[in-house]
């Protein structure tokens, strides 16, 4: 996989879909995970879901007749993408912290 940054929306959608959720459930979960900071809008979420389905990073669960809302869940590929992204993110955070700490120590 190329080492590309995920958008915040995609990152949080993938994290949310460790458990099966429908669209509105994803929106609520993302808001909760980010302590209210990331509020996904419906259009943005819909576009992201379709792209992720095409890429095979998430899959739609076959819906029972009882519930009309479609549920989604992360796939194996999706989890692998998440793992790579977390490694990339921690590298970003680590180098940031190290450099700023050294800078503070020198002063």
């Amino acid at each position: 996989m190329p080492n590309q940054a995920l958008t915040e929306a995609v990152y949080y959608i993938l994290l949310s879909l460790i458990e099966p959720l429908h669209g509105y459930g994803i929106m609520q979960n993302v808001e909760k995970l980010s302590n209210g900071r990331v509020k996904l809008a419906a259009g943005t979420l819909y576009g992201a879901i379709n792209t992720l389905l095409e890429k095979g990073w998430i899959a739609a669960l076959s819906t029972q007749q009882s519930s009309r809302k479609k549920e989604y869940q992360i796939t194996g590929t999706g989890k692998e993408i998440l793992r790579c992204e977390i490694i990339r993110l921690s590298e970003l955070v680590d180098s940031g912290i190290n450099i700023l700490r050294k800078d503070a120590e020198q002063k």
Binding site: A9, G43, T44
Partner: protein
């Protein structure tokens, strides 16, 4: 009480249209339906609703289009109207600040959709300008072709202006997303 207001917005000023509809909602008039240059409102508690509008990829009546509308409705918004490929939603503001796009990636994608629409209008009118000119010189020399050609040229010029405006808007968003997501 119902109120009908006639007002025209050009396609590339869709953001102004959305802003105006939200200003009406803030004043206590919530959108209930849309028509061509026509908006119908009902009284509401000022600030009770937020309005969002979008150009869909597909016709709202198509399977894909109605799937999308259903999806947005499931998030608690109300589908208030449809005008060609444009859809209008409103949502009670108590739960969250309602909008349809929350990042630049999706805003840019939406703009690209609108650019494609206006570009088609531009291309069709340019085609007819050429057609009218050809008919005038090659066959009839009828003044009807001059009139039609002038009208098409006018439409093409307005559409070209629109495409430029939209491209500028998209460029601004793109340069923003080079720094911020």
């Amino acid at each position: 009480m119902r109120r009908i207001i006639h007002k025209m917005f050009l396609v590339w000023d869709f953001d102004k249209e959305e802003k105006w509809l939200n200003e009406m909602a803030a004043k206590g008039l919530a959108l209930t339906s849309v028509g061509f240059c026509k908006y119908e409102f009902e009284d509401c508690v000022p600030g009770e609703f937020r309005i969002g509008m979008e150009l869909l990829k597909d016709l709202p009546q198509s399977v894909e289009g109605s799937k999308y509308i259903e999806f947005v409705e499931e998030t608690g918004a109300e589908h208030v109207g449809t005008l060609m490929r444009w859809v209008y939603f409103r949502k009670k503001t108590s739960d969250a600040d309602f909008r349809l796009f929350s990042d630049n990636t999706s805003r840019i994608e939406h703009l690209t959709r609108i650019i494609a629409l206006v570009a088609v209008v531009l291309a069709v009118n340019l085609y007819f300008v050429l057609y009218d000119a050809y008919m005038y010189f090659a066959s009839s020399h009828s003044s009807a072709f001059v009139a039609a050609g002038t009208i098409n040229l006018l439409f093409a010029a307005v559409a070209a202006f629109g495409v430029v405006r939209l491209l500028q808007k998209r460029k601004r968003l793109k340069s923003e997303s080079e720094i911020f997501e």
